[in-house]
């Protein structure tokens, strides 16, 4: 590559567009002039200028060390930013060049030397006309020239990847700089591409995959595929590891080499090609990790085609470790690449591209532990790679690994770019036994890696698509960790936690703390015209993950055998201690969804429901007994005695009339309090005491039998009010009227289903209580007075009949304000009587109400929005089939935020 002997009139010097160009020449050899002529002034960093900057004198030799520090610093900054940089200094000594080569390597760019070998006399002449150099000792130039001549032969050995030597002023004059693209820079190629994951000699699966992608194979006379082309001119890109382990590595090589040669494909090398290349060059390598199979196959090939091995060697040597494609939007390499290495050229970059980053540790199978670089990746370009077998290919921070372990019996996967569609084919068999199973039994193992404490512990920031970065404090994460670890259901079944909900603004209406007028006014001012008022069921929040059956649950959620979903509370705990009860509820739900035709309609075999489960006493019995009922009991025990004492004192003529009147009012309040909580309590599992809110229906031919004959669900009511997500889709933004219409169909279908079911079980007549409860609602136009008034009246009627209250939500589900900020997804308006449970029996007394009106809603609202955004994020990640740890990160953050300090009465 040395151009020393070439001498032409116009001489073209090739310089990679990102490199560190080191000019080498004695003082007076014309470096600065050369640099000025061929490069931008800003690309040139000159030692003279730096000397001037630090010492006010470009020739102050005592400032040289500082000047070079500065020079290195500037050059380093430019290289880090990916800019071509020219160093204008004599660089005649090898130490000076060595430090520059180190600098280039640190920034993974190529060092290039341009030597200006100009005779001494000419240099001296030039210096003489420069007053500032007039005093230079005469021995300097001859010394520098001696050093230069000594260096010439060793420049390439020192590490310069290109060396251009210009002998004499004429050659210097005649030189021209040509910037050339780096080998890895294929930004001008825009595809479209089909990027294909690790093949490992699975030639047959590769043929199938190419066929599925639409490529037409060309075969040789023996029927072996030797090339393939896509009718629409798509380009295949292979991420490497074509060979080893599998049944036909030569066949794969023949096809891929043909495609690369014909321009139908690009290919980057994998670590297996690298090793094979070294083997073919006669280097000593360990014939392990499936290389033995390849060697054997190549030997067989050799008997028929003695040159095949050489062609493979040349092909492997020609491979470039990674490519930057499609205007810089796509990077393809074998083992993944952090952004700072994109488009760079160094041994380190190549090594990372081939082998990835390892932590230096080994796992339980003796395999190196890979550093999860993709988790930190924030780059703009999508990185598509292979190398690490994973059960499913999934995007993570704009990176995706396409190695789905075909040779180990998994699948071979391709990614269509820019469509970002995954296309895969299953392995025909297990060609090679994996050392470590592709998945492990720990949660998350099936989707890449098990959950790690680093995903959740300490202060964390969760990136959400709807609200940006949301922070979780350390102490909140600590509390959530305890609850999540000790009490929650298996994280695989916990794809979502519901956010908290703020109440409406505090009302100033007489006798009310909360009133719908406030909710309507708030949404109106947020620009939300249509809102839906939904009956607020007084039970406990329940989220139900319903799969069609346990096969679906196992396949999609990696659930244990016999488990077809989960019903859990708002902190992720199983709703029922008895899994059989959960199972019964899930089966009923699954049947109702089936009868309503929702599986087909939503094109899914699982769905996630947000619901309220009644009665309240089922889950909150401890709280009821120790807090609410206890207050009632104490009141009832004390008040008669108090009243008697006061009445007796009054009878004696003691002035207690004011006190007596007050106590009588309080007795009324206390009774109202007890009434308030009793409405939400009833026993379950007893068919004689069903749901008090509903007339007991006794359809024809159905007999009620004793509690032994029931399925134990009597009295339990589940009111779903939102379908959160289904396969491939979050439904969080589906308008609430459509949501509820689908849910109505489930509720209706359950009734029909129960009838049908009952006739089948004619011999064991079982009374099946209805599980599903409908949610009443009313749509209100916030701009319309009459509509608002109707909304208020609806709420008054609802609460007068014992209802807890209502939730007001924007009908459209997901709404942003004019300024782009999220609108509260709902606010609650709780009934006047219900609030006694929250604020105490006597809260309605004017003096108490006045004080209670001072409540601080700001933090609750902010919390509600943050949890909402995290919930949406969890649903999106779940719907996108992201790895478990990504879903869990968002779910965990919701739980953590629930432990933030906020007035619990809100």
């Amino acid at each position: 590559m040395t151009d020393a002997d070439v001498s032409t009139v116009k001489r073209s010097l090739a310089v990679p567009d990102l490199s560190l160009v080191v000019l080498v020449g004695t003082t007076g050899s014309g470096k600065s002039t050369f640099a000025r002529r061929h490069f931008l002034p800003t690309q040139v960093v000159s030692s003279d200028v730096c000397r001037g900057l630090v010492a006010d004198d470009e020739n102050d030799q005592s400032a040289t060390p500082d000047a070079f520090d500065l020079l290195h610093y500037i050059a380093g900054k430019r290289l880090a930013a990916g800019r071509l940089t020219v160093v204008d200094a004599t660089n005649v000594q090898s130490e000076a060049r060595r430090s520059l080569i180190r600098l280039a390597r640190e920034h993974d760019v190529l060092p290039v030397a341009i030597v200006l070998d100009v005779p001494e006399g000419e240099c001296a002449r030039r210096n003489a006309v420069r007053p500032d150099r007039a005093g230079m000792p005469a021995h300097v130039i001859p010394r520098q020239r001696r050093e230069l001549r000594r260096s010439l032969k060793s420049l390439e050995r020192e590490g310069f990847r290109k060396v251009h030597i210009l002998r004499g002023s004429e050659e210097v004059e005649a030189a021209e700089i040509t910037t050339e693209r780096r080998y890895n820079d294929l930004r001008h190629l825009t595809g479209p591409f089909d990027i294909i994951g690790d093949i490992h000699g699975c030639r047959s699966e590769l043929e199938t995959l190419l066929g599925k992608l639409g490529y037409a194979l060309r075969r040789d006379e023996r029927g072996r595929p030797v090339d393939a082309a896509h009718p629409e001119g798509r380009t295949a890109v292979f991420v490497g590891d074509l060979v080893d382990r599998g049944p036909d590595s030569p066949g794969v090589l023949r096809l891929v080499m043909g495609m690369v040669a014909s321009g139908a494909a690009l290919c980057v090398p994998g670590n297996h090609e690298n090793k094979l290349g070294r083997y073919l060059k006669g280097r000593k390598v360990q014939v392990t990790h499936g290389l033995a199979e390849t060697v054997e196959q190549l030997e067989r090939e050799h008997t028929e085609d003695p040159e095949f091995g050489d062609r493979v060697r040349v092909f492997i040597e020609s491979l470039v470790s990674h490519y930057v494609l499609d205007g810089g939007a796509l990077v393809v390499c074998h083992a993944g690449l952090p952004e700072k290495y994109h488009g760079r050229t160094s041994g380190r970059v190549r090594s990372h591209a081939l082998y990835g980053d390892t932590t230096g540790e080994t796992d339980e199978f003796g395999l190196p532990v890979r550093y999860p670089w993709a988790e930190d990746y924030r780059g703009r370009a999508a990185v598509v790679y292979g190398h690490t077998p994973t059960p499913v290919a999934s995007w993570l921070n704009n990176t995706i690994c396409l190695d789905t372990g075909c040779v180990f019996g998994g699948r071979m996967t391709a990614l269509r770019w820019p469509e970002r569609e995954l296309v895969d084919v299953p392995a025909e068999r297990i060609w090679y036994e994996p050392v470590k199973p592709l998945t492990n039994e720990a949660p998350g193992g099936a989707q890449g890696r098990p959950l790690d404490l680093g995903d959740v512990q300490g202060r964390r920031v969760v990136e959400t698509r709807h609200m940006g970065r949301i922070a979780v404090k350390e102490e909140n994460a600590a509390a959530a960790l305890e609850v999540m670890s000790r009490f929650a259901v298996d994280p695989r079944l916990l794809g979502y936690l519901p956010p908290t909900m703020a109440p409406c603004a505090t009302s100033s209406e007489d006798g009310y703390l909360e009133h719908p007028a406030e909710a309507f006014a708030a949404y109106r001012s947020d620009g939300v015209r249509e809102v839906i008022c939904e009956e607020k069921h007084m039970g406990s929040r329940a989220v139900a993950l319903v799969c069609r059956d346990d096969t679906v649950a196992r396949k999609r959620f990696d659930a244990p055998d016999g488990v077809s979903g989960m019903v859990y509370t708002r902190t992720g705990r199983p709703f029922f201690d008895d899994p059989r009860l959960t199972g019964k509820i899930l089966r009923r739900l699954s049947r109702a969804i089936d009868s309503a035709g929702l599986w087909q309609e939503l094109d899914t075999d699982w769905l996630l429901l947000d619901a309220e489960l009644m009665p309240w006493s089922l889950k909150a019995e401890g709280l009821l007994r120790n807090q609410y009922a206890a207050v009632g009991a104490a009141s009832r025990a004390v008040l008669p005695g108090v009243l008697t004492a006061l009445e007796n004192a009054a009878a004696r003529g003691v002035e207690v009339s004011g006190l007596l009147g007050k106590q009588r009012e309080r007795a009324v309040d206390a009774a109202a309090f007890t009434e308030a909580y009793r409405r939400y309590c009833w026993p379950v599992g007893d068919p004689q005491r069903g749901w008090p809110g509903e007339e007991r229906e006794e359809p024809r031919g159905r007999r009620t039998v004793g509690s032994r004959g029931t399925d134990g669900l009597d009295g339990i009511r589940l009111a779903p009010f939102q379908i959160l997500a289904v396969q491939g889709r979050s439904l969080a933004a589906l308008p609430h009227d459509q949501q509820l219409a689908m849910i109505d169909r489930m509720v209706e279908a359950e009734g029909l289903d129960a009838d049908a079911n009952n006739s089948i079980c004619a011999y064991v007549p079982t009374y099946v209580n209805r599980l599903l409860a409908p949610t009443r609602r009313l749509v209100v136009d916030t701009e319309d007075d009459a509509s608002r008034a109707a909304g208020v009246q609806w709420w008054l009627d609802l609460t007068a009949a014992g209802g807890e209250g209502m939730v007001v939500k924007p009908l459209q589900g997901f709404v942003r304000k004019g300024d782009g900020r999220l609108v509260q997804p709902g606010v609650k308006c709780r009934g006047r009587e219900y609030l006694r449970i929250i604020y105490g029996p006597e809260y309605t007394r004017p003096e108490n109400l006045d004080r209670l009106r001072v409540r601080h809603l700001g933090h609750k609202r902010s919390l509600a929005l943050r949890e909402y955004a995290l919930g949406l994020e969890a649903l999106d990640r779940l719907a996108d089939d992201e790895p478990l740890w990504r879903v869990h990160e968002a779910v965990f953050a919701v739980l953590a935020l629930e432990s933030e300090p906020v007035d619990p009465r809100l």
């Binding site: 670590n271 090793k275 392990t288 990790h289 499936g290 540790e361 339980e364 199978f365 003796g366 395999l367 190196p368 890979r370 190398h387 690490t388 039994e441 949660p443 098990p450 404490l453 680093g454 600590a478 509390a479 960790l481 305890e482 670890s485 000790r486 298996d490 509370t569 902190t571 006493s617 889950k619 909150a620 019995e621 401890g622 807090q627 009922a629 206890a630 207050v631 009991a633 104490a634 009832r636 025990a637 004390v638 008669p640 108090v642 004492a645 006061l646 003529g653 003691v654 002035e655 006190l659 309590c681 604020y839 105490g840 004080r851 209670l852 601080h856 629930e898 432990s899 300090p901 007035d903």
Partner: protein, 552 residues
């Protein structure tokens, strides 16, 4: 939640010579007036429903201002909002009533309490036929404890439990009893009994702690407390609980909020540190108390879980720790993880043996860790000692890189606190990811439960146990774990090995590739690993495959 009223009546009977209305002099409150007094928690009223020479009743009524009470508990909530979790869980509960009543008693009837009566100095010395009625008395320990506390003081006691809600008889009784005390007592003594015993009977969730509480107790208890058969309980409840519970309440705010979000009581999820420990908090430094306490903690459901060994009963917890230490010594481990360290009983034992150079206590409960730090007096430990010990929050539901590279890990009575569906995660976190050379796992042997007479049949030893295994079940689990992760396992009994039902505790000692049959695989594994490092090759192989290849 809002307090009920607090109410009590004191009735005495008399004759014309010694009229019952003398009560008015004794209480310094005129029988014909209704008087009101401001106290720190609300307004107290004193009035007399009846006042004749034959019979005189004084009623004390405290109207607690619930809104003010909640606002008192301002914490670090944002925007000046009350940190209501604190308010809720410490102040604003009906069972704080007794403390408040005691405060009211002392401020409204202070002279009577001291036994002073300026107008009629002879009166206070005279025993009166008294009838004291408290219609709703919060009583932790129920009517039975009420009897035990008041009967020795010469009272005829009627204590009837108050039903929670007659509409829901299945809910049973409330924590309140209707209390009637009858007897001949000096009024001052009667008031002092109430002043001390009402808070003792309360669930003792006081948030107020005055530094002179001990003096107050001594003063009010003078003449009756020293001889009381329940003196220890009275003193400990009156004094020690308040400190620890105040502290506890502050420590568990986050958990309290999570419980709140789930409509459950905080005790349901904040149970990593047994409540009973607080009773012994003052004495923990003593070894005996520690053992007693350790037993309480790990086997809360079983009273006095000890087994006879060498004639002297040795608590099972101690035997278990000894067995674990033996196992660790046998594996020549120096750097040891105590996974699920609870309140640090095992850590304390490990610290006493210098061969353990690095001891890491991990627990998911911050409260347990704080308690451990206090118990081990971490802040006062010498630097050399404290560098050997590290405490950190962690969870075996997740892999944790901090746990890699240790010689041994102990899971002492831990696995049975994990829901069975989540055991695979624990298994992977310990044996797959942390992968210490040795792992010691102990767990109860459920077969042995029949040997404990105090343990009802079918009941777990601890309310938080998610399962208890037979020997067979444990062996089969441990065997599969060992197989999956390349460990060998041996089993050892802890406690007396009953010929029929086995030992009370079962211990499994896992070793990584220690066994002869495994060594082969391990060594191959090691070399191939090294090859891979130098070779940069990060692809897969097994020792078995390599061996197969070699053989072929």
């Amino acid at each position: 939640m809002i307090l009920g009223r607090v109410f009590l009546t004191i009735t005495t009977t008399g004759t014309d010579e010694s009229p019952a209305t003398d009560l008015g002099f004794l209480l310094h409150k005129h029988p014909d007036k209704a008087q009101r007094f401001s106290t720190s928690h609300g307004t107290a009223h004193v009035l007399y429903p009846e006042a004749t020479a034959q019979r005189c009743t004084a009623a004390l009524m405290l109207e607690v201002d619930p809104v003010a009470l909640v606002r008192r508990g301002r914490g670090k909530g944002r925007g000046g909002a009350p940190d209501s979790a604190l308010a809720q869980y410490v102040n604003d509960r009906p069972y704080a009533a007794s403390s408040l009543l005691a405060v009211a008693l002392s401020s409204v009837f202070s002279s009577a309490l001291r036994g002073q009566c300026k107008a009629r100095p002879e009166l206070p010395e005279r025993p009166l036929p008294l009838r004291i009625e408290v219609p709703a008395l919060p009583a932790r320990g129920g009517a039975e404890l009420v009897q035990r506390l008041f009967t020795p003081l010469g009272w005829a006691v009627t204590a009837e439990p108050v039903a929670l809600d007659e509409e829901f008889p299945e809910w049973g009784d409330s924590r309140y009893v209707r209390l009637v005390l009858e007897g001949e007592q000096r009024l001052a003594d009667a008031l002092r009994h109430l002043y001390v015993l009402l808070p003792v009977l309360d669930d003792a969730k006081h948030y107020w702690v005055a530094p002179d509480e001990v003096d107050k107790l001594l003063r009010s208890g003078e003449g009756w407390l020293e001889g009381h058969p329940e003196q220890r309980l009275i003193t400990s409840r009156y004094l020690t609980r308040r400190w620890s519970l105040t502290r506890t309440a502050l420590e568990r705010l986050e958990l309290a909020r999570l419980a709140e979000a789930d409509d459950t009581e905080v005790e349901e999820i904040d149970n990593a540190v047994a409540e009973t420990t607080a009773e012994f908090a003052g004495e923990f430094a003593g070894e005996s108390a520690e053992e007693e306490d350790g037993t309480q903690k790990t086997e809360g459901g079983v009273s006095g879980e000890t087994t006879e060994a060498a004639g002297k009963p040795v608590p099972l917890a101690v035997q278990r720790r000894e067995a674990i230490l033996d196992a660790l010594r046998g594996t020549e481990s120096a750097r040891v993880l105590d996974l699920g360290c609870g309140q640090g009983q095992l850590l304390a034992a490990l610290l006493k043996d210098a061969r353990f150079t690095e001891i890491v206590g991990v627990d998911v409960s911050m409260r347990a860790l704080n308690e451990t730090a206090r118990r081990l007096r971490l802040d006062r430990m010498s630097e050399r000692q404290s560098t050997r010990l590290k405490l950190m929050q962690g969870s075996l539901a997740y892999t944790d890189s901090r746990l890699r590279g240790y010689d041994a890990a102990v899971l002492c009575e831990v696995i049975e606190h994990v829901d069975p569906p989540r055991l695979p995660a624990l298994e992977y976190a310990v044996f797959g990811a942390a992968r210490p050379r040795a792992v010691v796992v102990t767990t109860p042997n459920v077969e042995y439960n029949v040997r404990w007479e105090t343990l009802p049949a079918g009941k777990a030893r601890h309310p938080d146990h998610r399962f208890e295994w037979t020997r067979e079940e444990f062996r089969s689990w441990a065997g599969e774990v060992a197989e999956r992760h390349g460990y060998t396992v041996e089993f050892r009994p802890v406690g007396p090995d009953d010929p029929e039902v086995g030992p009370p505790t079962q211990l499994a000692l896992f070793r990584f590739g220690a066994d002869g049959t495994k060594t082969d695989g391990t060594s191959t594994d090691r070399t191939s690993t090294d090859d891979k490092r130098t070779d940069h090759s990060t692809t897969e192989t097994t020792s078995t495959t390599t061996a197969k290849e070699a053989a072929a």
